[in-house]
Symmetry: C2
Subunit: 306 residues, 2 copies
C-alpha cells in the first residue's frame, strides 16, 4: 500500500506527456499522407492543422485508458491517432467563417486563413475519413476485431449528431441566448465531453477492458470532460493570447455562455476540482500503478494554464 502510494505520487504527468507526445506525433505522421502526395494542397492543409502544436490530450487519454486495463498502450496507438484526427477536423471546421471565424489557433494561422475556405472544409472532411480508416485498419489487423469495432462505434457516435456535431449545433444556436447551468453542461457534454470520454473508453476497450472497466472509464471521462471545459472557460477569462495561442475573451465577444459568467469564477474553480476528484474516485477498481497516467491527466486538466 505504501509502495502503491509512492508509485502514484512519484508519477510526473507533465514528464509523461512530454515523453509520450513524440510517439503520438510519429504515429500521426505515419497515418497521414505525405505533404507532397497529390493533391498537395489538401495534404498540406491536413498536416498544417494536425501539426500546429496540439497538447495531444485525447491521444494521451486513449493510451492511458488502455494502460488502465493492463494493456500495452502502444497497441491502442491507431485509436489515439484516430481521435486526434477527429479533434483536428472539428477545430478546422469550428474556425471557419461560418462558425467562430478564428484566424489564430494554437498560435498558428487557421487552415482557412492559409489554404482558403474550400480546402479547409475538405481537409476537415478528409481528416474524419482518415480517422475511421485508421480505426478500420486496426480492426482488420487485430486479434480482437470485435473489441476494436466496439471502440469504433463509441468513437463514431461521439463524433456525430448525438455527440460532437450535436454539441456544435447547440453551441451555434446558444449564441446570444441565456442558458442555465444544466443546458450549458449538456452543450459541453456533447461538444467536447463526448470525444474526451470516447478517448478513454476506446483505450479501455481495445486494451481488453470488460464492461465494468468501460463503465468506470466512462465515469472518469465524463468528469474530466466537463472539468476540461470549465477550465477552458476560466482560461478564456483570465488567460493571455501568448498563453492560450488564441485570442482570449472570444467567448464573451461572441456572447457565448460560460461557466464563470453563470456561476462565477470561484464556484467554477471549485466545480473543476470536484469533477477531478469524481474522476479519480472512478478509478478505484483498477490497479493503482496502471491508472497513474489517468490520475495524472485528471490533475493536469484542472491545473493547466493553457
Amino acid at each position: 500500500m505504501a509502495d502503491e502510494s509512492a508509485a502514484t505520487a512519484a508519477f510526473d504527468v507533465r514528464q509523461h506527456m512530454e515523453s509520450t507526445r513524440p510517439r503520438i506525433d510519429a504515429a500521426l505522421d505515419g497515418v497521414l499522407p505525405r505533404a507532397d502526395d497529390l493533391p498537395a494542397s489538401l495534404h498540406a492543409a491536413m498536416r498544417h492543422s494536425v501539426f500546429a502544436g496540439g497538447k495531444r490530450l485525447r491521444p494521451l487519454l486513449v493510451l492511458a485508458g488502455s494502460r488502465a486495463c493492463g494493456a500495452d498502450p502502444e497497441l491502442a496507438m491507431p485509436a489515439a491517432c484516430a481521435v486526434e484526427l477527429i479533434h483536428t477536423y472539428s477545430l478546422i471546421h469550428d474556425d471557419l467563417p461560418a462558425f467562430d471565424d478564428e484566424e489564430l489557433r494554437r498560435g498558428q494561422p487557421t487552415a482557412h486563413v492559409v489554404f482558403g475556405e474550400t480546402i479547409a472544409i475538405l481537409a476537415g472532411d478528409a481528416l474524419q475519413a482518415l480517422a475511421f480508416e485508421a480505426m478500420a485498419r486496426a480492426t482488420a489487423a487485430s486479434d480482437d476485431p470485435a473489441a476494436w469495432a466496439e471502440a469504433n462505434v463509441e468513437m463514431a457516435r461521439a463524433a456525430g449528431s448525438l455527440g460532437m456535431c450535436g454539441g456544435q449545433t447547440l453551441d451555434v444556436e446558444a449564441v446570444g441566448k441565456t442558458l442555465d447551468v444544466e443546458a450549458l453542461r449538456q452543450l459541453h457534454a456533447w461538444k467536447t465531453g463526448a470525444l474526451l470520454t470516447a478517448s478513454v473508453v476506446c483505450g479501455g476497450l481495445v486494451g481488453g477492458g470488460d464492461a465494468t472497466a468501460a463503465a468506470a472509464l466512462r465515469t472518469y471521462g465524463d468528469a474530466v470532460g466537463l472539468a476540461f471545459q470549465v477550465v477552458d472557460d476560466l482560461l478564456d477569462v483570465s488567460g493571455t493570447a501568448a498563453e492560450l495561442g488564441k485570442n482570449p475573451g472570444g467567448d464573451a465577444a461572441r456572447e457565448q455562455p460560460t461557466f464563470p459568467a453563470l456561476i462565477g469564477v470561484e464556484a467554477s474553480r471549485a466545480e473543476a476540482c470536484r469533477l477531478r476528484d469524481e474522476a479519480v474516485t472512478a478509478l478505484d477498481g483498477f490497479a493503482p500503478t496502471d491508472v497513474a497516467p489517468l490520475r495524472g491527466l485528471a490533475e493536469y486538466i484542472v491545473s493547466r494554464s493553457k
Copy 2:
C-alpha cells in the same frame, strides 16, 4: 446456357431499382436519428438531404456486389446505408457557397439554403460520422468482423484525401484551367469513381467474396464509375432542369472541364458504351444469375436520362 441468357435478358433493372429503393430508404430511416431528436435542426437537415429523392445508385451497387458473391443482399444493407450517407454528406458540402454554391439539388432546395451554412456543414460532418458508425456496428455484430473491417477500410479510403475529397480538391483547382483527358479521368476517378467502386467492392467483401472476386468487382466499379461521370457530363450538356433536378449547364458556367468539351458529344457517348462493355466483361467469372443486377446497373448508368 440458354436458360442463363434468358434469366439475364429477363432482368428488368428499372423494376429492380424501383422495388429495392423502398428497402434502402427504410434502412436509412432506421439508421438516422429521428427528426425531432435533439438537436432537431441538425437532424432535420440530415434527413432533408438524405430523403431529397436520390437514385440510391451506390446502395444498389453495394447490394448487387454482395449478391454477385452469392450472399443475401440484405446482410450488406448497413454498408449500403453507409455509402449513401457519405454520398449525401459530399453533396451537402459540394453545394455550399464555398464550393458550387448550388441552390437546387435533386429538385429540392439545398441544405444550406434551407438550414443555413453552419448547420449544413455540421449535417455533412455528422452524416459522415453516422456512416462509419453504421459500418462499425455491422462489424461488431458480424460473424466475419474482419471482412466488414476490410470493407470499412475500402470505404474510408474512397471517401478521403486519396479518393472523394482528393477529387473534390482537384475539381476545385481545375476551374478555369485546361485539363487533358487523362487529367479529367483522374479527377473523376477520385471525385465520383472511388466511392462507386468502393460500393460494389464493399458489397462483395461483406458478401464473402475472395480477393479474385474483389478484383473483378473493382474493375467493374472503375468502369461504371467513369461511365457514370461521362454520362453526367453529357446530361449537363443536353438535359433540362426538370429532368436533372438541378440547373443544367452548370459545369460550363463554372468553367469546369467536361468530356463532351474535350472529346466531343459523340466520342463521349461511344466512350460510355465502351466502359459499360468493359464493366460487364469483368463479371464473366461470376454466376450469370448472381450478376444480373450488376449487369443491369451498368446498362442503366449509360442509358439514364437524369
